[in-house]
């Protein structure tokens, strides 16, 4: 490719907008109140990072995984077990925080590899059900086995000194999010990513071409597990504690819902969905007159459920899909990376391998 061609490929409107957004997010802590940064934006980054792995698996692998939040929790529990020196529950290994991080990520990745290998021969709806079962079994594992957690979970988990000020968690989340976004996009153009998309579209043909179909799915799931583990460690640093209830079926669905709100085949959608979710969760109660129409904080799940229902009925591609569609209608077709991978049909109808029938 010529230099000019290279430049035009990098300098698309979408990329420029994203770069501007990242710059804005970097300076945001000096503009916005601390609560907004340390509560809303930090959570957005963590949940967005975890939801992006769902998008990664759905978009490239055609696998909708409900096990990502379990892996998110595994990383948190393992960090807590390894880092704490003493406490009522857990292994209390008392290792240094960074050793604990490595340990937690290693365990999470290994668990992801195991679960992925087991699920790699199923696809579509079977994969969804199987990962839902993983999620619930994982919940029971942490709720019942007192050696690693027990029902009360692990409390008073500190974070490394380097991460002392809360705003550093936000920056770490932002950096990891940007890395994951760019990394996931880049993987789509590597030979592994191409093969994975081939496996998504026609596993039988890929198998007869000599590709190891289950291995590709397993490796994709393992990579997604590793990235979710990063988000999980961030979460346990931010929260200071983790208990089995926080990885039960409710939060598991919430993470899928975040991916769905944003649009399950758009990487941007993961963070968009997380932002919408956290903002609604945080500020809904402050809206005037909202309790008059029966929407109180306690009925929050009804609102979320109804929103997801509406999105799935109207546009399975979520908010990002709606934005794309509006841009398309306005006669200005988006020329982002998604346009180049030949997925333009996704605007009007869901891609068959993702939402519809295979």
């Amino acid at each position: 490719m010529t230099e000019a061609g290279m430049r035009s490929r990098l300098l698309t409107r979408t990329n420029a907008a994203l770069a501007a957004l990242v710059v804005f997010l970097i300076v945001l802590p000096s503009l916005a109140p601390a609560f907004f940064i340390n509560f809303v934006m930090t959570q957005t980054m963590m949940l967005g990072l975890a939801a992006a792995t769902i998008v990664f698996l759905a978009r490239y692998g055609g696998m909708i995984s409900l096990a990502q939040f379990l892996l998110f929790g595994v990383a948190g529990f393992m960090f807590g077990n390894a880092a704490l020196e003493s406490g009522a529950r857990g292994l209390n290994l008392g290792w240094g925080p960074w050793v604990a991080v490595v340990f937690a990520l290693a365990v999470t990745t290994a668990v992801a590899f195991l679960l992925g290998a087991l699920a790699a021969r199923t696809t579509g709806i079977y994969f969804l059900m199987l990962t839902l079962v993983y999620a619930v079994i994982g919940f029971f594992v942490f709720a019942q086995i007192v050696e690693i957690s027990g029902p009360g979970g692990i409390t008073s988990i500190g974070r490394p000194d380097l991460m002392g000020p809360p705003v550093r968690l936000y920056y770490t989340g932002l950096a990891l999010s940007v890395l994951a976004y760019l990394g996931f996009k880049a993987i789509g153009r590597t030979s592994f990513g191409r093969a994975l998309q081939g496996v998504r579209d026609d596993p039988i043909r890929m198998a007869s071409l000599g590709f190891n179909v289950p291995l590709h799915r397993t490796l994709a799931f393992t990579l997604a597990g590793f990235v979710t583990g990063l988000a999980g460690i961030l979460n346990v640093w931010w929260n200071g504690q983790i208990d089995p209830a926080s990885i039960s079926i409710g939060p598991t669905l919430i993470l899928l819902i975040i991916a769905v709100i944003g649009g399950i085949s758009y990487f941007e959608g993961a963070w968009l969905g997380a932002f919408v979710y956290v903002v609604v969760f945080t500020y809904l109660r402050d809206l005037p007159l909202i309790d008059r129409i029966g929407i109180t904080e306690a009925r929050f799940n009804t609102v979320i459920g109804a929103v997801v229902l509406l999105i799935m009925v109207l546009s399975p591609e979520g908010l990002a899909g709606i934005i794309e569609r509006v841009r398309h209608r306005a006669g200005r077709p988006a020329r982002g990376a998604s346009a180049r991978t030949g997925r333009r049909t996704a605007v009007r109808r869901p891609h068959p391998s993702r939402i519809g029938e295979a």
């Binding site: 021969r121 579509g124 086995i145 669905l253 929050f300 459920g305 939402i355 519809g356």
Partner: protein
């Protein structure tokens, strides 16, 4: 576990066809089946002879406890079958995974408890002696019918027009689950409630010197009755014939001019009704509380993933296997490891899936 022949033993349908020729691949492919067979015989050996130091003791040493555990397994499997059969029926015909199945289960349970309380005239401390058979049967029918009606509405409003889009349908029903769970929490509160068995079936009998509750046997009887009715409906009626034909080839059934919409609606109604019956049995057996919906969605999923989606035979086999794991693992794991019972469930799932990815009686969609 204790069901002979149920261990996965057949080779999985080949995904990469060329792999069959290579002997190494063939050995690797058969490996899960051999591991499964070895694990099954190991478990039988453990339970029968070796399980000293467990809460139950080995079956040879303590046969009464073994028989009671076996009865626990079979009776719980009955409940599992009632809950899972509706789920698998709906999937078998329509390829719709109804994630709201657990919600219908819980909704029916709550409603039946309300109706029973109204009929007995008390809201708490209901004594089984005050509950006539009719005070249990009418709530059962009311709860299950309402669950069936709600299921039918869900199908007609949200699922009927996007048939074939499996994942979209699964996500829609998941969203419905979230809404229903929240609304049920608002309406019925967060405390555990339970349905009371009729006094006529609440006794204790002695099995080899161990006390055993007849209510569990009654539950099994209801489950067997449901199973027989389902079997008669599917094999002896015209509608059942059409459903079985539809499971095999939907397009052909359509092509023959059969009103498949009516068949779909009826199947969804019956499947949701079965969820409702399961809910009332479950509420009588273990109570109902927020979270019961998720637990029973999991139970149904585990049963159909083991047995194979869409197969009634698979639902029976899956219920028996999963019921055995649930009953046997707390009793026959060494005392200090009884917390690890959930791992056994996972191991069962892993073994079945490794040798047959679509379940024992399942096949690719």
């Amino acid at each position: 576990m204790t069901i002979p022949g149920a261990a996965p033993s057949r080779e999985d349908a080949p995904e990469g066809i060329d792999a069959r020729r290579l002997t190494v691949s063939a050995v690797v492919r058969r490996l899960p089946a051999w591991v499964g067979a070895a694990a099954a015989s190991g478990v039988v050996l453990w339970v029968v002879f070796l399980a000293e130091g467990t809460p139950a003791g080995s079956a040879v040493g303590n046969p009464a406890r073994f028989v009671v555990t076996l009865l626990d397994a079979v009776t719980f499997a009955g409940l599992l079958f009632v809950a899972a059969s509706g789920f698998t029926l709906i999937f078998g015909l329509m390829r719709t995974v109804n994630m709201a199945h657990g919600s219908l289960f819980l909704l029916s349970a709550y409603l039946a408890i309300r109706v029973q309380q109204a009929m007995v005239g008390r809201t708490r401390n209901i004594d089984p002696a005050d509950v006539r058979i009719i005070d249990w049967l009418v709530p059962l029918l009311v709860g299950a019918t309402v669950a069936a009606a709600v299921g039918l509405v869900i199908h007609q409003v949200f699922l009927q027009w996007n048939e074939g889009q499996e994942l979209r349908q699964a996500l829609i029903t998941l969203a419905i689950t979230v809404v229903l769970a929240d609304q049920m929490l608002r309406e019925f509160g967060g405390l555990a409630q339970s349905m009371v068995w009729p006094g006529a079936v609440t006794h204790f009998i002695s099995i080899m010197g161990q006390r055993y509750a007849t209510t569990r046997l009654f539950m099994l009887a209801v489950a067997v009755l449901v199973g027989i009715l389902l079997w008669l409906w599917l094999t002896r009626t015209r509608m059942g014939m059409v459903i079985r034909a539809g499971v095999d080839d939907r397009q052909m059934v359509r092509g023959l001019g059969i009103n498949i919409r009516l068949v779909f609606a009826t199947t969804f109604f019956v499947g949701s009704f079965l969820a409702g019956v399961g809910g009332v049995l479950g509420a009588s057996f273990g109570g109902a509380a927020p979270g019961t919906d998720g637990a029973w969605l999991l139970n149904s999923l585990v049963v159909v993933i083991i047995g194979g989606l869409g197969s009634i035979k698979g639902a029976i086999a899956g219920s028996l296997l999963y019921g055995s794991v649930v009953a046997f693992s707390p009793a026959y794991l060494p005392s200090q490891y009884s917390f690890y019972a959930i791992i056994v469930t996972f191991a069962l799932l892993a073994l079945v899936l490794a040798s047959r990815p679509y379940g024992l009686f399942g096949r690719p969609a």
